[in-house]
Symmetry: C2
Subunit: 268 residues, 2 copies
Amino acid sequence: MIGFGDLLRLKRKEFGPLCLGIDPSETELNNWGLPDTANGAKDFGLRCIDAAEGRLGLIKPQVAFFERFGSSGYAALEEVLQAARDLDLLVIADAKRGDIGSTMLGYAQAWFGDDSPLRVNALTVSPFLGPESTLEMLDHARDVSAGLFLLAATSNSEAVALQTATSNNQSVAMTVLNAAITHGSNDLGVVIGATQSLKEFGLQQLVDTDLGVPILAPGFGAQGAKLADLAELFGASAPNVVPAMSRGLTGQGPQAMANLIDRAKLEL
Amino acid sequence: MIGFGDLLRLKRKEFGPLCLGIDPSETELNNWGLPDTANGAKDFGLRCIDAAEGRLGLIKPQVAFFERFGSSGYAALEEVLQAARDLDLLVIADAKRGDIGSTMLGYAQAWFGDDSPLRVNALTVSPFLGPESTLEMLDHARDVSAGLFLLAATSNSEAVALQTATSNNQSVAMTVLNAAITHGSNDLGVVIGATQSLKEFGLQQLVDTDLGVPILAPGFGAQGAKLADLAELFGASAPNVVPAMSRGLTGQGPQAMANLIDRAKLEL
């Protein structure tokens, strides 16, 4: 059976690594002249998918911006996900879920259930309850050719102290990366903010060696990182990076998106 | 304006500290002879609320077990939350959300928005992106007299290495507790699994001194901790503990719940 790593490789080959972040926040909906409602979020998502069609292989909807409308927001997300499935786009749901084993099974049923309306190709997961607490979910993801991205070094400044804390001389970020190396098979990736110094987080090994671990890297565009700097930032691991960009591609309205996507792809 | 800490105190005074965990997992729905559907989860939640009425002041629905049915699961959760509001039960949504600032605003709108169908009295939050990344959300919670519980020392065994990692000679768990002490006002609590040794997590200070920080403590019942041991486990901070119990109260079916709740209250 084909795995998430294979699907990712195929999409990269056809469209390059760029991933469109779909963030229907209040600000973005206002920018686009859309109502700040579940319907507005749905229209935002569907227009993003229109722009991605034929240009990109990957999208990353931010679940928080749908959840803010409750069940109608989830219904909107489900329509956006269905549209993405119809176009064979790979979907990384950015939900940062994380809980103890029996509860993680609930999340696995949501995001990787065979008939779940929320089924996606990959999910971002928070390893605060220990990276190993996510392994049972990984099994469920694999059953549907999907994968996980564990948060390792996030793009926000408040994250540094916690994610660089050490246990047995190893940073939290490195412990997470190690779990991905040990248990993954191109389907257990990590999230590393492109705004951070990998060395500071104890992740220099990743810069020096190609470890083959998929890396989802938010922080490009509005948060400050430049696509042109990706190779320098991630060094030997640059070929495994999926750079995610949201406002940098959507912030000038729906008409500008296609051009901004084309331009961003040229920078990579 | 009355704050979450005041609401919590009033409920404790009237009903004691016990909190009923509402976990409509596949296993629990099967146990109860309910269908494993959104409607089954709704019936499970509503019957839990019936049993809580007049007996308990606090409930803790586990969002994962509603999310597994997508938007219809969220619609079921919304009905359960409305029933809880109608009975003036305090609701702690166990969702363990955590993200960077702009995204946390989305979650704040979901769980603390004035007219949000998901509005609750408190939310569990994951501090993996740094405890400070949750403070803006705390402001929004306060606007509606609500609070947050930050994960500090969770009840699962895989959590120990990460949550005991140190930075400036302080464990991750203690860093989270410190953030609650510094920024809270009886409305920023912590989650500490009753199955853990507080000393091992660097939280001995909590056992020795009453710091006034609300503590949500899962792990009672099916996970192994005993209510009768609460005082010993939390020492000086025991009066601030909200013990949460799920399967221990619901696992013998709906008819047994009221009796099990009454019996559990006697142990406290």
